[in-house]
């Protein structure tokens, strides 16, 4: 069974006194478990909007999103929050780490809400070891480099064993070397933990490492690979 199915997704925004802007129109996408996919396209084409709709952070004007067989667009806000917490991991262009918390605490943020901190801490330690930050667990975000912060953000996204990892320009704020390393890490984690990976990116090299590449242009999604 596909882990993610997008059926005829459309999204319009009001613009001006009476007009609307159509960002997405009839977008369809199917992803199987453990599959990786990159969505590319020019700036302002609606890639992040699509990712947010997939991640239940935004809603579509038309169509539906089926994740693990469930129509998430039918969920209320509370159910969506629980669903995001249990099934989805997010990585954003900015890491959005909490400055007042240590690396470990940042990683555990999603675990707090479902009160799973006991096992989560072990998982966090393991994941941090995996990404090479085992020795930085008690550091604050301000004490890390940009690449390290982004790796912490990835670990935070992985802490609840999500079925799908959504990454919005994850390498956008990193240099080439850092971007390369993060790409490696994400692929490695995909292989190691088997979660589905949907990445929105401008980076061709990162996109090339995905199983599928889709281009979003003129509100429509077209498969390139």
């Amino acid at each position: 069974m596909p882990i993610l199915v997008l059926e005829n997704i459309g999204k319009t925004y009001p613009s001006g006194p009476n007009g609307t802007v159509e960002i997405l129109k009839g977008v369809n996408l199917v992803m199987e478990p453990s599959q990786t996919c990159a969505i590319v396209g020019p700036s302002g084409s609606g890639k992040s909007t699509l990712l947010n709709i997939v991640g239940t952070l935004d809603f579509s004007t038309t169509g539906r999103v089926l994740m693990d067989g469930q129509d998430v667009s039918m969920f209320d806000n509370a159910d969506k929050a629980v669903f995001r917490n249990r099934r989805i991991g997010f990585v954003f262009q900015l890491h959005h780490l909490l400055p007042q918390c240590s690396v470990l605490e940042n990683v555990l943020i999603p675990a707090i809400v479902n009160k799973d901190t006991g096992d989560a801490e072990k998982r966090a330690d393991a994941l941090l070891e995996t990404v090479g930050l085992g020795d930085r667990r008690n550091h604050r975000p301000g004490q890390l480099s940009g690449g390290e912060r982004q790796r912490v953000a990835v670990v935070r996204a992985m802490i609840n064993n999500p079925k799908i990892l959504l990454a919005d320009e994850p390498t956008g704020s990193l240099d080439n070397s850092g971007a390369e390393k993060l790409g490696d890490l994400m692929v490695k984690l995909n292989k190691q933990f088997g979660m589905t990976l949907l990445v929105v990116t401008h980076s061709e090299s990162l996109a090339e490492r995905m199983d599928m590449i889709y281009e979003l242009s003129s509100a429509s999604l077209t498969r390139k690979k």
Partner: protein
């Protein structure tokens, strides 16, 4: 583009942010300037009142109960070329009948002012009311009180004055009468026409009745006399010059002295209409060569010593005379010794006495507390004179009203106690019929003065031989040697004193600034916060400016210029707003806080200088609050300014961590010292309660806030917080400055409000106890007309008709003498220049332990009888508040000296050797001296006007009614002592309610600060919240984290404020009479907590209203 241009452009670009800063500055300026303008307005109003009560009067000669000849005014006017206005002023009662049943309406303590048309010229208004034998005028206040208008009937009553002071021995009690006059009201005198006329520095308008001077003189038997001389003065004339004019123009007849010529005896005799010649007259009168003094007295009995009184005669006049050669000036020869006596033939026959026999005289001596003590002196008979040899002495003898004018002995009416049986002695009656008051015996003047000299004088006459002097010579000598000031003829600069009293009056500006302090601080903190938020928003801009080569100083200057523009505009707007704010406060004073200004009307008045000072101060304060942020932000490195974590407080590590222990040690030390101050205050019996409150309060607040900082540091340290609450706790330390600002604001606000609430005093608690401010006396009475008799004695009660009801048998009354002066109580907004002086019998209070908190330790009353060097008289302040606030004087061993003028116009130094220990007593606003000192310095102030009543608690109302009814003609008002305390306390109570309102407004403003801080925190962390949203936190969880985070800060602030205020107030709460309004304080706490949480809730709602997703993007 220059720096100024950049600043102006930035100011315009960030106008929203700056508008909020401008509003904060304007608010602070309006509150501060408004408070100062209240001071201007109160001072202006007091000044206006002072000028209204005095009109054009600049100088006044007030001789109180001494009366001078009215035509002195005419001579003075001619000498000084200054218009003089004589008047006769007395205290009295106004009455009128109202309604069909003719219910009498009585107003006591009315000033009855006898004036003629000259008086009205002092108002500067040509119109004057018609005053005649049938018509009088009253001022607006009295007309309103009585509800009368022109054409209505009105009566007045006043005590008939006596030239011979009523306390003097042999003074008639017949004159202890009141005079009543019925009139038609001719008009109501407006305030601008001197309707408020009074010489006392008090903003409270007196009840004034204006009567014809002639009518008042005639009916008070003081024809041609006055006791007040008023003048508008003229340019550059001084009281000294006026007093010089008095010296040039006065004559001894002005003060009631007269020289009678006895051609047959070839004698001139100096006499006084006060009967006794004042000591300052006698000293000069007897300095004249070949003069003789005479002192005539009524003795109780003269009897043969050997017969132990079986042979004797009661109630006889005896004359003491200076010995003179060949009996030129009297019958006492030069060779007569002081232990010898001359008897007239009638007396010698009565006693069967002859030369060489022993004779005793028993007589009454008047003590300083007006008691008569019988004493006896023995004499040897020097000679016996035939009746024809002393016939002339009858003409020379003084005339005692009620005594020498009586037809029969039984008609005698004098103040001394007399035996009704002895007075009916037939032989004595026969003598009276034949020889009237011809002395029955003669002693030397020295012997006589030893027995009968008293505070009213030691001579009844001085004699001169016409062979040596003529009348004019004596008059001239006395005029040249006697100082008229000794007779009370001295001008005082009343206008200058009035204006001084206003200038030194309570500074309401300061009071309101103090009360608004927290409100101003709140507004300034708000301003600082808003500005800090504004420039924190622009940290990237600052970073870029620095990165592109601007120096930190230049960047700072750009921001300073901006803040100057904003603060300047705010101060100008605030100054404008202040005029409305002041009007609001004055409206509050007129409608809700009348107690604070004792019901006076306050007029709005703004001094441009005050507005300027207010605006500049606000501008500077606002600049300082902004400067702090500017320095902080521009002190950062370029890297820090461009960093995404700008402003976040991180855990303290490294070098910084080493000094952290100080943050623990100092606050802990502060807490320990505060605890010691509190314990010390309790153990030392609250002698320094105010200092203790402020020191311990400040220490507790500062230390607790310091410790809170440490707690916040601790909370931001790494650790396991695996819960939402833990996350919230961690967040409290992220912006420690902001968190501490909120904590401080709320803590200080709560401290002030709760401390003020705790200060409430229950004046009725223990009001029946001797140690309370009532002294344990149930009633406090004050009469308009003095009561001359001993109200506790059977005779006195009989005379006052207080012996009709058994209930009064258990009632004891302590009487107090009064010398009018300025009221130094909290009811007088003016600074008392010469406060009211009371003569008290310390023994009465000592016997009751009245007004003594610790009767074993306190010797306050005993201090009154202590002899002091330098002619100073010991005095005690009516209560602690009188000393501290009313007089603003030190008391105790090194107490201040108050300068009064005694009845003779001489300086009287009263040293404040102590004060009644309680904060508030029924004697508030007065200075107490011993009755003996009072009588010595003010002998003419006869009788008692204040009465403290010990009465059974259950029958208080009935006692009040009985006393009020019996003593009604004296214009007496009785009030429950506790109610008198409540009247005084109403002022303080009003201050507290004003403070609570202003403090409450401060807390409201503080709440606005909390709202802004929360809003700012949320807006700054929107991306963080969006991330939490993304990882599965629902809105409830997010709200919980934010609410908890800010709730913790609010609760810490409130807890510190509450605990610190209660701890600091603890010593006071232990004392008697504290009255904590628990319900009000609970209401306050709940209201503040609710308000804060509503603010937090509102902030969350505003900040979280829109979608958080956008915050995750890079824009």
């Amino acid at each position: 583009m220059k720096l100024l241009g950049l600043s102006i452009r930035s100011s315009l670009f960030y106008w929203r942010s700056h508008l909020s800063v401008l509003t904060g500055t304007a608010l602070a300026c309006a509150i501060l300037t408004g408070a100062m303008l209240v001071g201007d307005s109160v001072r202006y109003s007091l000044n206006k009142n002072a000028l209204l009560r005095l009109g054009n009067i600049h100088f006044a000669l007030n001789s109180y109960d001494r009366y001078f000849r009215e035509d002195l005014a005419v001579r003075l006017e001619a000498e000084s070329a200054v218009k003089m206005v004589p008047a006769l002023v007395m205290r009295g009662i106004a009455l009128c009948r109202k309604g069909d049943r003719g219910d009498a309406l009585q107003v006591n303590n009315v000033q009855i002012i006898g004036v003629d048309e000259r008086f009205w010229t002092l108002s500067g208004i040509a119109e004057s009311p018609v005053l005649s034998n049938e018509s009088i005028a009253v001022n607006r206040k009295l007309a309103a009180k009585l509800g009368i208008a022109a054409g209505d009937e009105i009566s007045i009553r006043f005590g008939k004055p006596s030239l011979l002071p009523r306390d003097a021995p042999l003074s008639s009690r017949k004159s202890d009468e009141t005079v009543r006059g019925a009139f038609v009201l001719s008009g109501v005198v407006d305030d601008s026409q001197l309707g408020r006329f009074s010489l006392y520095a008090n903003q409270i308008v007196p009840y004034n009745v204006f009567v014809s001077l002639q009518w008042l003189q005639k009916n008070s038997l003081l024809e041609g006399r006055s006791n007040l001389l008023l003048t508008a003065g003229k340019n550059e004339i001084t009281p000294v010059q006026l007093n010089e004019c008095i010296k040039k123009t006065w004559n001894i007849e002005d003060i009631g002295l007269v020289i009678r010529d006895f051609p047959k005896r070839e004698l001139l005799q100096l006499e006084s209409d006060r009967v006794f010649l004042d000591p300052f007259i006698t000293s000069e009168a007897l300095k004249i060569e070949q003069s003789a003094g005479s002192l005539t007295y009524l003795v109780n009995s003269i009897y043969r010593t050997s017969d132990n009184g079986s042979l004797g005669t009661p109630y006889s006049f005896v004359e003491a005379l200076s010995p003179s050669p060949a009996g030129i000036l009297g019958v006492v020869p030069e060779d007569m010794r002081d232990d010898e006596i001359i008897l007239n033939k009638w007396m010698a026959d009565c006693l069967s006495a002859k030369s060489g026999d022993d004779v005793s005289i028993s007589y009454y001596e008047l003590t300083s507390v007006n008691k008569f003590v019988e004493k006896t002196t023995n004499y040897k008979v020097h000679a016996v004179l035939d009746m024809h040899e002393i016939t002339g002495e009858l003409d020379l003898a003084p005339r005692f009203p009620g005594l020498t004018d009586a037809e029969r002995c039984t008609e005698w009416d004098i103040g001394m106690p007399m035996d009704r049986v002895k007075i009916e002695d037939k032989a004595n009656e026969t003598y009276w019929k034949a020889y009237r008051h011809t002395p029955k015996a003669f002693v030397t003047l020295a012997a006589g003065q030893k027995m009968w000299a008293n505070r009213f004088g030691n001579l009844t006459a001085a004699r001169y031989s016409t062979q040596r002097y003529n009348k004019q010579q004596i008059l001239r000598i006395l005029r040249d040697t006697v100082d008229p000031i000794d007779a009370g003829l001295t001008f005082l600069p009343v206008r200058e004193s009035a204006l001084k009293a206003v200038n030194e009056s309570m500074d309401f500006g300061q009071l309101f600034v103090g009360m608004s302090f927290f409100l101003v601080i709140s507004a300034l903190m708000l301003t600082g916060l808003l500005f800090a938020f504004g420039i924190q928003q622009r940290s990237t801009e600052m970073g870029i400016l620095l990165a592109t080569g601007f120096t930190p100083v230049t960047v700072r200057n750009i921001l300073m210029l901006e803040s100057c523009l904003v603060a300047g505009a705010g101060a100008v707007a605030g100054a404008f707003l202040a005029t409305f704010y002041t009007r609001g406060l004055i409206w509050g004073l007129g409608n809700y806080w009348q107690g604070a200004v004792a019901g006076s009307t306050i007029f709005y008045h703004a001094q441009p200088l005050t507005v300027f000072i207010g605006a500049i101060t606000s501008f500077v304060c606002a600049m300082l609050s902004m400067l702090f942020s500017i320095r902080r932000e521009t002190g950062r490195t370029v890297h820090a300014l461009l960093s995404e974590y700008i402003g976040e407080d991180t855990p303290v590590k490294g070098n910084k961590a080493r000094g952290q222990w100080l943050w623990f040690v100092f606050p802990s030390a502060g807490l320990i010292i505060a605890a010691w101050v509190i314990v010390n205050s309790i153990t030392t019996g609250m002698h320094n309660a105010t200092e203790s409150f402020f020191i311990s309060g400040a220490l507790l607040l500062a230390s607790s806030i310091g410790l809170t900082r440490q707690v916040l540091v601790k909370w931001t340290s790494p650790g396991n917080f695996m819960s939402l609450s833990g996350l919230a706790v961690r967040n409290t330390g992220r912006r420690r400055g902001r968190s501490l600002a909120v904590v401080s604001l709320l803590a200080c606000g709560c401290f002030m409000v709760f401390a003020v609430c705790s200060m409430q005093m229950d004046v009725s608690a223990n009001a029946w106890m001797r140690f309370s401010g009532t002294g344990g006396f149930a009633l406090f009475g004050e009469s308009t007309i003095p009561i001359q008799v001993d109200i506790n004695s059977p005779e006195g009660r009989h005379k006052l008709r207080l012996d009709g009801d058994d209930l009064l048998n258990d009632v004891r009354i302590v009487s107090v003498k009064v010398r009018d002066g300025d009221d130094a109580s909290c009811l007088n907004l003016n600074r008392a220049q010469v406060s009211r002086l009371l003569g008290v019998d310390a023994a009465e209070f000592l016997a009751r332990n009245a007004f003594m908190v610790d009767e074993k330790k306190e010797k306050t009353w005993e201090l009154l009888n202590k002899a002091l060097p330098g002619g100073e008289i010991p005095g005690i302040a009516g209560d602690a508040d009188t000393a501290t606030w009313g007089l603003k004087k030190k008391t105790g061993k090194d107490g201040d000296v108050l300068i009064y003028r005694d009845e003779k116009g001489q300086q009287l130094k009263v040293k404040l050797v102590g004060k009644l220990p309680m904060r508030l007593s029924v004697f508030q606003g007065t200075v107490l001296i011993s009755s003996s000192a009072f009588a010595a310095k003010y002998p003419s102030e006869s009788g008692y006007r204040i009465f403290l009543v010990d009465a059974p608690r259950g029958d208080l109302k009935k006692v009040d009614d009985l006393l009020s009814q019996a003593l009604g003609k004296y214009g007496i008002d009785f009030i429950e002592s506790v109610d008198r305390l409540k009247e005084f306390y109403a002022v303080e109570s009003t201050y507290m309610s004003m403070f609570l309102v202003l403090g409450g407004m401060g807390l409201l403003l503080g709440s606005a600060g909390v709202l802004i801080v929360v809003l700012r925190n949320i807006l700054e962390r929107r991306s963080e919240l969006a991330l939490l949203d993304a990882v599965g936190y629902n809105r409830r969880n997010l709200n919980k984290v934010i609410l908890l985070e800010h709730g913790i800060i609010v609760c810490i602030g409130l807890a510190i404020g509450c605990i610190a205020s209660f701890a600091a107030m603890w010593p006071s709460l232990q004392s008697q009479g504290s009255n904590i309004p628990v319900a009000i304080m609970l209401f306050f706490i709940i209201a503040i907590v609710l308000l804060q949480f509503i603010c937090i809730g509102a902030s969350i709602r505003i900040a979280m209203h829109s979608s958080l997703v956008a915050s995750l993007r890079n824009e």
